[in-house]
């Protein structure tokens, strides 16, 4: 017996179709700006680590900017998001102020989590509808299902959006969470950022079966695949998928193909990756890809680009400066963060 599942592959969106998607020039430039903000922010973070000003683990979002930005633009600001330890990009794309993100990395009280969370939980910002950023691979998936359950129960038209990596697809939490979401037809959009590696291990070497998307489909989810380095393709795919979910069609799943520009964490040189592979992907690196498309479409020129870069540099400089001089939380305050009183 041949059993067939349908997986919707969304092709790369040509520049000529940007108009059809309702994306005006301002929005397009805004998306590039968001991506650049993440890019420059992460480059600065990397530098701060290498200078020893920041310590601890830190998982940069370099190379995956198109996914966070495309998805965040496609969903609503009030849709709750579940992020991960690789969450700097999710936070910035969602509009969490760079100064709060930076202060958190410094472990300062002005950080999103008062410095108590750190890089791996920096995206947690209730104000920005990111109630969870987990450092445990796969664990955001059942949590996202639970968020969807609450939204459905309340009859809201919001949807839950959960980010995770390719490695998460091998976890039990992935299986249990997807099954629950699909069995209960919960309004959850699952976003798998397949950057081809789980830490130092290529996903293909520890993954069995056709694809991550095929697995999701076998768990009964409406499933999509698309190229994750093209922000407009990401946007379009997330738009279609989120409409499916918001319309009551049950959970959807998107596998985006993307690539880490650097190592797993700041100290990882990514020596284990074949040079040709890296080069191949760098040709399709999201920011130069989008910049050249926007130039081609006449949406942006070098002058505007410089302007954006300057604005961003200022924002980041300020964020670092403030973070450096702002205070730590007094230790005693920690005791007030464990339980809700009363």
């Amino acid at each position: 017996m041949r059993l067939c599942m349908s997986i919707e592959v969304v092709g790369e969106v040509p520049v000529s179709s940007y108009g059809e998607l309702g994306l005006g020039h301002d929005i397009l430039v805004g998306m590039l700006r968001d991506m650049l903000l993440i890019r420059r922010f992460e480059e600065r973070v990397e530098r701060l680590f290498l200078e020893g000003k920041l310590i601890g683990p830190s998982h940069l979002y370099l190379g995956q900017e198109a996914v966070a930005v495309g998805v965040m633009r496609a969903i609503r600001r009030d849709d709750p998001v579940v992020s991960t330890y690789r969450g700097h990009g999710h936070a910035l794309a969602r509009g969490v102020p760079p100064r709060a993100v930076m202060a958190e990395l410094f472990g300062k009280a002005a950080g999103t989590c008062k410095g108590v969370g750190g890089s791996m939980h920096v995206a947690m910002s209730v104000e920005h509808n990111i109630p969870m950023a987990t450092a445990i691979v796969g664990s955001g998936i059942p949590i996202g299902a639970g968020i969807g359950l609450a939204l459905k129960y309340r009859g809201e038209d919001r949807i839950a959006v959960v980010f995770f990596g390719d490695g998460a697809a091998n976890t039990g939490a992935f299986a249990e969470g997807l099954n629950l979401a699909a069995a209960w037809k919960l309004p959850v959009l699952f976003i798998c950022e397949n950057n081809q590696y789980s830490e130092f291990t290529p996903i293909r070497s520890v993954f069995a079966g056709e694809s991550i998307a095929a697995r999701a489909s076998a768990y009964g989810l409406k499933t999509f695949q698309a190229f994750g380095n093209d922000v407009i393709t990401v946007y379009k795919t997330a738009k279609i998928a989120s409409e499916h979910v918001r319309g009551g069609g049950g959970p959807a799943f998107i596998e985006f193909q993307t690539y880490r520009m650097k190592g797993h964490g700041v100290y990882d040189t990514a020596w284990y990756r074949p040079k040709e592979e890296v080069e191949e992907w760098m040709k399709r690196e999201p920011i130069s890809l989008f910049t050249s498309k926007l130039k081609q479409a006449g949406v942006i020129d070098d002058g505007k680009l410089r302007e954006i870069e300057e604005e961003i540099k200022e924002i980041i400089d300020e964020a670092v400066e403030e973070a450096e001089k702002s205070p730590y939380l007094p230790f005693q305050e920690l005791y007030n963060l464990v339980y809700v009183e009363g």
Binding site: P131, A145, V340
Partner: protein, 325 residues
């Protein structure tokens, strides 16, 4: 006063809280149409409908994880894990997420969720269905951990747990569900979390007990009274946060302490109680605290062996006798 079984009392608590607050929802394996394998959720589907009472797939990580997610959005989920043993499968969600989410977010979020489970020690279920390890959660600040020992407390504590804005692990003794009946007021009441309860006053020895061993401790106290020994029985009810004051106060009066719980001895609840009392009231102790626990062995299936394995009133009484001798 009317008498209810342990299971009936829990059922009433759930029912009342669901009537009171529509943010309370319930899910777990076989809790809806079947009404729970031990009937604790009986009739709730019929009264509250399939959106509020849900049968889950066999997936404990998803059950606890979904509770975390729902609680983050302001619902008050009550998730049932059928046997405490299976809680290990959802433990990442309970210990690494539920217990820590508030802290690691810098106090931004709260998780008003309850995870209910029962342990089947005493029901000849063997090694993999009888585990009792609440003491683990003493290492997981952020959780409250509640273990009722009577139907009355079960109802009042569960109601408080549901209303609490923190994640609560609620551990029930399966052997008591239908075998223990007790007075339960008709009118509404709450039993506060974090407070111990002196279940019997006495002067010679303090027996601290929790969950199933409360009944055993009370039976022992009864016997010992005939022998002229006056025993005070303190029911912990919540082990985290622990009501140190109540325990210490009792020990300061009796100067002798026995702790009886269903954990295996090493690293059990009794270890923390003993260590704490020694810290806080060393000079008041006439003798070292005695721990009455199961031996440090997995639980055997064979009925007479399981019986011998378990803490009972006779073992508690013996410990007290040795202490006052």
């Amino acid at each position: 006063m009317r008498e209810l079984s342990f299971a009936e009392a829990l059922n009433e608590a759930l029912r009342e809280e669901m009537r009171r607050d529509d943010s309370v929802i319930i899910f777990g394996e076989d809790v809806a149409k079947p009404g729970g394998v031990y009937k604790v959720t009986k009739g709730l589907l019929e009264e509250f409908g399939p959106e509020r009472v849900r049968d889950t797939p066999i997936s404990e990580a998803a059950i606890v994880g979904a509770a975390v997610g729902a609680a983050l959005m302001g619902l008050r989920p009550v998730a049932e894990i059928m046997y405490m043993d299976f809680l290990t499968i959802g433990l990442d969600q309970l210990v690494t997420h539920a217990a820590k989410a508030r802290f690691m977010s810098g106090g931004q979020v709260k998780l008003p969720m309850v995870v209910r489970c029962q342990y089947s020690l005493g029901r000849v279920h063997g090694s993999q269905h009888s585990q009792f390890f609440p003491s683990w959660f003493l290492q997981a600040p952020g959780l409250k951990v509640v273990l009722p020992g009577t139907p009355r407390d079960a109802k009042g504590l569960l109601k408080s747990a549901i209303r609490d804005d923190n994640p609560v692990l609620f551990v029930e003794s399966g052997v008591l569900y239908h075998r223990m009946k007790g007075p339960v007021p008709e009118e509404e009441y709450l039993v506060p979390l974090g407070k111990a309860d002196v279940k019997r006053r006495g002067d010679d020895v303090t027996v601290v007990a929790v969950s199933r061993t409360v009944r055993e401790a009370l039976a022992a106290a009864e016997k010992l009274e005939e022998e002229g020994v006056s025993v005070e029985v303190v029911d912990l009810m919540t082990i985290q946060p622990m009501d140190k004051e109540a325990i210490v106060e009792s020990v300061k009066k009796t100067n002798r302490l026995v702790i009886a719980d269903d954990s295996v001895k090493t690293g059990g609840i009794s270890a923390e109680v003993a260590a704490m009392v020694v810290e806080e009231a060393f000079d008041y102790l006439d003798a070292p605290p005695v721990r009455v626990n199961s031996p440090t062995l997995p639980v055997p299936f064979s009925p007479p062996l399981e019986r011998e394995y378990m803490v009972d009133s006779e073992k508690i009484a013996d410990a007290v006798r040795r202490l006052v001798k």
